[in-house]
């Protein structure tokens, strides 16, 4: 893919002969790119003339962007690669970890735009510094993608990336080695694996890990550190005696050890002042609701079990849920399992595979009360009012006489069922109605 141009050192040396006339202008201020925030716009941003078109046939390059410590060097690497390979455009994209319409989605989109602005300034400056003749022809484009849906796993990210690549004639993805879109898990390896199944070529930028540990991470961990320290100290003192000085001293020491070692691990997002207390308060509202549901389901299941005929009708079901990945999904899946009669067998992206013991439990599941309450706890009252899974047609029964979908057991061995199969037949509503008739013993 690379053509005859020799790779120019590290791009920082300005002494060498500069082929392209356009690059000489802004290079003076470009060395100070970290401080540059003004001149770039948030929309598609161009650097230099783009009309001439590159001579090489290389496609555009996509770089997923998140504020990491290695982002700066990744951008430098990619800018060099784009200039040397004659890529027509450099797409810097941020994959949204929020969904438009969520509370705080505006703030998070604005934060993403700020990151993109800065990254675009870096890339523009690096291209200006580059000695490759094609550098001036590389267009720098920024975009936020995937904000119209909740994205769950690596497959979802890759789908969004692939769609964007197709729209923009890109054939190459360069990953920041510390890229973690969700912010808590190491998603890079699954992401690389899923990308390798597409036609895009993938590489991880060969940059040193601990080059620039900048303000991004340290800011984030202060809040987590304080929150975890307070939580573990409170827990320690509750178990001990808060008025006894010895417990106070050992409590502080213990909490310090816990928060130093675990603050990066145990909290997956930084506690924020209006959000976290609100979530805890709404979670406290949810507790009695959940206890009531558990009590009700326990009585029903106890009656079924003690019935001499044992009138069970177990089926496996699939339900596509609308809650965020991570903690909200775990809350919902655990609430479902905690309620007797329903058992979460598998969570595959946003699909929950739930085993139900009696039709009554299945119907309650499809009515989506727990899902609604989970959304209430994490996103507030407005998000709770989405239609139920049944109304959305996001449910399927996988077994028995009313089955509407194939059982994906074969998929357990890496088989045929893809991630996004929406093969719900039109007879699903009929099945649901016939179940309603069967439910007589409430």
């Amino acid at each position: 893919m690379a053509d005859a141009d020799p790779p120019p050192g590290d791009g920082a040396s300005a002494d060498g002969p500069v082929d392209s006339a356009e690059t000489s202008g802004p290079s003076a201020e470009a060395s100070d790119a970290d401080a540059t925030s003004g001149p770039t716009t948030s929309g598609p941003t161009t650097s230099g003339p783009t009309t001439s078109g590159p001579t090489a046939t290389a496609g555009a390059i996509i770089v997923p962007v998140e504020p990491t410590s290695t982002l700066r060097s990744t951008i430098a690497h990619v800018a060099e690669a784009a200039a040397n390979d004659g890529a027509p455009a450099l797409h810097l994209v941020e994959i949204a970890s929020w969904r438009d319409g969520d509370p705080e989605s505006d703030e998070r989109a604005a934060a993403a735009e700020r990151v993109l602005e800065r990254v675009a300034a870096w890339a523009t400056a690096d291209l200006d510094d580059s000695e490759a003749p094609a550098a001036a022809d590389v267009e720098v484009v920024t975009a936020v993608i995937g904000a119209d849906d909740y994205l769950f796993g690596a497959d979802d990210y890759v789908r969004v990336l692939a769609e964007y690549a197709e729209e923009n004639a890109a054939d190459r993805v360069v990953l920041d080695p510390e890229y973690t879109p969700v912010g808590n898990t190491t998603l890079l390896q699954p992401l690389e694996f899923a990308l390798s199944n597409t036609s895009l070529s993938v590489e991880t930028a060969p940059v040193d890990r601990p080059t620039r540990r900048e303000r991004f991470r340290t800011e984030a961990t202060t809040g987590r550190f304080v929150a975890l320290f307070g939580l573990s100290l409170a827990f320690y003192l509750l178990l001990g005696d808060p008025t006894y000085w010895f417990d106070a001293v050992t409590g502080v020491a213990t909490a310090a050890v816990v928060s130093i070692t675990l603050s990066r691990v145990s909290l997956d997002s930084t506690p924020a002042i209006p959000r976290t207390p609100m979530r805890i308060a709404r979670g406290l509202v949810y507790v009695p609701v959940l206890l009531y549901e558990i009590l009700k389901a326990n009585l029903v299941v106890a009656r079924v079990i003690l019935d001499p005929r044992l009138p069970i009708e177990p089926t496996l079901n699939r339900m596509r849920v609308i809650v965020g990945s991570g903690l909200p999904l775990m809350t919902l899946a655990n609430s479902i399992t905690l309620t007797p009669g329903t058992l979460t067998v598998r969570a595959r992206d946003s699909d929950l595979y739930v085993h139900s013991l009696v039709p009554w439990a299945r119907e309650g599941l499809f009515d989506g009360s727990l899902e609604r309450w989970t959304r209430f706890v994490y996103y507030g009252r407005r998000s709770a009012r989405l239609p139920t899974p049944r109304e959305r047609d996001d449910v399927a029964i996988l077994q028995g006489d009313d089955a509407t979908e194939e059982l994906p057991i074969a998929a357990a061995d890496g088989g045929a069922v893809g991630a996004g199969d929406e093969s719900d037949g039109g007879d699903e509503t009929d099945a649901a109605e016939s179940i309603d008739d069967e439910v007589t013993d409430r």
Binding site: L239, V301, A302, I305, L306, P340, L343, L407
Partner: protein, 110 residues
């Protein structure tokens, strides 16, 4: 008189809660014996943990008083409620990944 009556009510409440906890634990045991396969048994196993342990710990809290160990029993319940579904899910998921098809009506009892 009132103190004695209150004490008596507390004792009877503790007895009632213990019996309720025993009842749900018993149901859970019967369920594990009667139900046909791993998935359906996992349902009823969670009964012992939720209401069986729940009523039992409520009885403990009422006996020892909320100030000391009672609070710890509430914490215990909280941790049971977090860990029990996680374990049940892990078992069910392992079975699913192994390709064990859930039992449906008409199948042989396993």
């Amino acid at each position: 008189m009132t103190a004695a009556a209150l004490e008596a009510a507390r004792v009877w409440l503790v007895v009632a809660l213990t019996l309720l906890g025993l009842f749900f634990s018993f149901v859970s045991m019967v369920g594990v014996l009667r139900l046909p396969d791993l998935y359906s048994r996992a349902h009823t196993a969670s009964q012992a943990d939720t209401l069986g342990a729940g009523f039992g710990l409520a009885a403990v809290a009422l006996t020892v008083g909320l100030a000391g160990a009672g609070f710890k029993s509430v914490l215990l319940l909280f941790f049971i409620f977090v860990t029990n579904p996680t374990a049940a899910h892990a078992i069910a998921r392992a079975a699913f990944e192994e390709g064990i098809v859930p039992w449906t009506n008409g199948d042989e009892r396993r």
